[in-house]
Symmetry: C2
Subunit: 507 residues, 2 copies
Amino acid sequence: MAQQPASAISPTRQEDYPEWYQQVIAAADLAENSPVRGCMVIKPWGYRLWENIQHVLDGMFKATGHQNAYFPLFIPVSFLQKEAEHVEGFAKECAVVTHHRLKADADGKLVPDGLLAEPLVVRPTSETIIGAMFAKWTQSYRDLPLLINQWANVVRWEMRTRMFLRTTEFLWQEGHTVHATEAEAREETMRMLAVYADFAENYMAMPVLCGEKTESERFPGAVATYSIEAMMQDRKALQAGTSHFLGQNFAKASQIKFLDESNQEVYAWTTSWGVSTRLIGGLLMTHADDDGLVLPPRLASAHVVILPVIHKDETRAQVMEYCTSLAAELRSISYAGRPITVELDAREGRGGEKTWAWIKKGVPVRLEIGPRDIASNSVFAGRRDRGPKERISLPRAQFVAQLPALLDEIQAGLLERARAFRAQHTRAIDTKDDLYAFFTPANAEKPEIHAGFALAHWAGDRAQEEQLKNDLNVTIRCIPLDAPAEDGRCFLTGRPSHRRVVFAKAY
Amino acid sequence: MAQQPASAISPTRQEDYPEWYQQVIAAADLAENSPVRGCMVIKPWGYRLWENIQHVLDGMFKATGHQNAYFPLFIPVSFLQKEAEHVEGFAKECAVVTHHRLKADADGKLVPDGLLAEPLVVRPTSETIIGAMFAKWTQSYRDLPLLINQWANVVRWEMRTRMFLRTTEFLWQEGHTVHATEAEAREETMRMLAVYADFAENYMAMPVLCGEKTESERFPGAVATYSIEAMMQDRKALQAGTSHFLGQNFAKASQIKFLDESNQEVYAWTTSWGVSTRLIGGLLMTHADDDGLVLPPRLASAHVVILPVIHKDETRAQVMEYCTSLAAELRSISYAGRPITVELDAREGRGGEKTWAWIKKGVPVRLEIGPRDIASNSVFAGRRDRGPKERISLPRAQFVAQLPALLDEIQAGLLERARAFRAQHTRAIDTKDDLYAFFTPANAEKPEIHAGFALAHWAGDRAQEEQLKNDLNVTIRCIPLDAPAEDGRCFLTGRPSHRRVVFAKAY
């Protein structure tokens, strides 16, 4: 192996966390910025991750009775206006289509032409346009529930963007459902939150807290918003998915009504829920280290990379044959619902550089195969969750037979490590002074490393939440659903409280 | 079964073909028009077809070495302008984003605000924005070939739209590749044309002609455009997929250059190729009949529908149990690379109405199951490619064992029928009079039924092509790749010609 740098990614997390994040993306070749303001290009290694995420989630949505459909990219401004809070929430950051062609002006410059009678907004989310269709499809209680999901791109004109975490255009899924009763709609809201939590923990290996948002963090137009919240390695929170109980707000805005069993026309109850390519940013910041990306096996763009070690031309054919047959053997194994994916890196180049390239790409298992391994019918294996020098020789048959178990072990280890990290940086806090101290950086030169999650009693109002945000850049991430009942007093107002909520800095 | 109408779809193909097309879509619940001009909503039954199409094509693209990626929805106008013919082709029909927020005017009406310095076009196709990225990624001959595909939505502001065939927004895939040599780029162009033809014939059961477009039908900016062309049941041609050899036009426009093996900086050679949701319109018009949609099994939204026949409440539990276990048994079978999809229609309602609903949806195999079938452990089966009354009783085990073969038989039969239809309506024509007669409707009251494909020698120019288009609304669909060499004379100019080309009216 080539001479090893102190770490493959520079700067390290400790040195400059935001820049480390960008460098991991670049080193793994996940994505890059495009010439279009705030829009990224998702490169093949990153897009494979998204495909794997889609595949698993899509199966979970279908298993819970949902069907996919596709609705228009454009929303007439008058539709967006139907729900007052909704338009308030999105009007300030939407791309507006005003013309339907270009023409050359006197100087030959192309300028917009063909003014539209009504401007169209590029969907920032689709409640209003889907609601218009749901109003047609919902006539009788027999038509309900309507359980629809859409995989799509959406646009929100963000002023400060960061790849995967906040981009002007992003890819997501948005579930939209209609129910006859409030109870069923609330049940759906919680079911999909649970699906997201299951996916985050069991596929991304990213532990999450499930909870309700406070009023100030609610989706515009929702009655209640629930989220899954994960802790990143800079100890900031990432809202990784949301599920909204919309009550009858959008049903009234879009006239989604039906005849109930007693033949009365009543408004329906709706929900919506979504996750996006932001998950990839969350996955990165949960597992990546100073050597680059670390992929959880169940979603990995590839499970195994095979690196042929060829020092002499006369061994080339033999080594390549062994590697090719090994790759084929591994690809015939199924793991977590899909075939094992193998990269066979037969490019010319120095072994050490190639090895490091795959470490930075986060492949869970690396195999170096040279004539000595072939002579003993074995493989020389390294794991991405261990140090880069820690490798062992294993009989080929044993490695092949144990690969699924090895991947499961890596997957479980990543989740456990992330859980331990979160536990280490979560503190119960009872006084305002302690909370302010917790969120005030000890090292003013490294403000990007944040304190973590503070569990504290809270009975304040919206203005007081705003104050904390202004003072500390801290928000209530959620009111956890599974927090134990515990009588206490709000650290700020002293008013009684019955459970702790989660405070953190957040993306 | 309920009393049977003369046909389930009204009007029939003969009575009013364009309206029949819309009615088949409505009756099968494939899609419907949205409140957004020219944009459709793809409903679950239609979207499943698209998912199946995506699944198969995606596998074919990956098997030929392509990787998926994702590029921005928006294209700065200056990028579109880089290739002169390209911008000429798309400037007249593109959605233009000019603002990035909305604000309330004095009357409280929301109006565009936040004017962009440079307008953005919603991608009508992505050569120019992808080209900008390819220019960065292509540095050395070692970086080539670049073989990228994108699944995406695109927008072309069409004045006359028709669901699936021509919509303002549509879903598609666009392949974009970069090669070191002209030969490799030409080979790629033909490889992907062959992939499309394979898919059309072997999955859609839609026979296609492969050929090159004349200059007037070329993709704006291409050196050569190839297409697959299918005959619809009104005997018009449908261009169902295109593959473009772009020469160095886009490489020069986007500065896609690389150092070749002799360390010289040279321009690369590029291709692009795409198919869209238009395929669903083609599939419909190839196979649907006056009773509605007919789905080829390899892409069917569902392979089998089970209709429990319950006349008395006391048999309900027994019938449902049998049907549920049969559904589970069928779902465990794999067919054409995915599990058999079964719909179990346990809704209340009259048997005949339910049966007709599934006939109109095009499900290949229907099973009606009542107490008598259960008593004999059998199924009562009907095929969508046969008359609605033609059903047979089969032992359950035999039906289960033979289902994949039955589906293959239906698939093969649909292709054969479509081939026979095309052959029946394809004629070799040698004179101008015959060609004009062929394309002049015998019945002026039913101009929507068109003559078919005319194979004729051609050595005319672009102006003469234009003349045929004006006189007859007929175009050269393609110069077939596999047409036998045959010396003849152009029916219009009398000039010598060495092969026949295909004339037809077209979508």
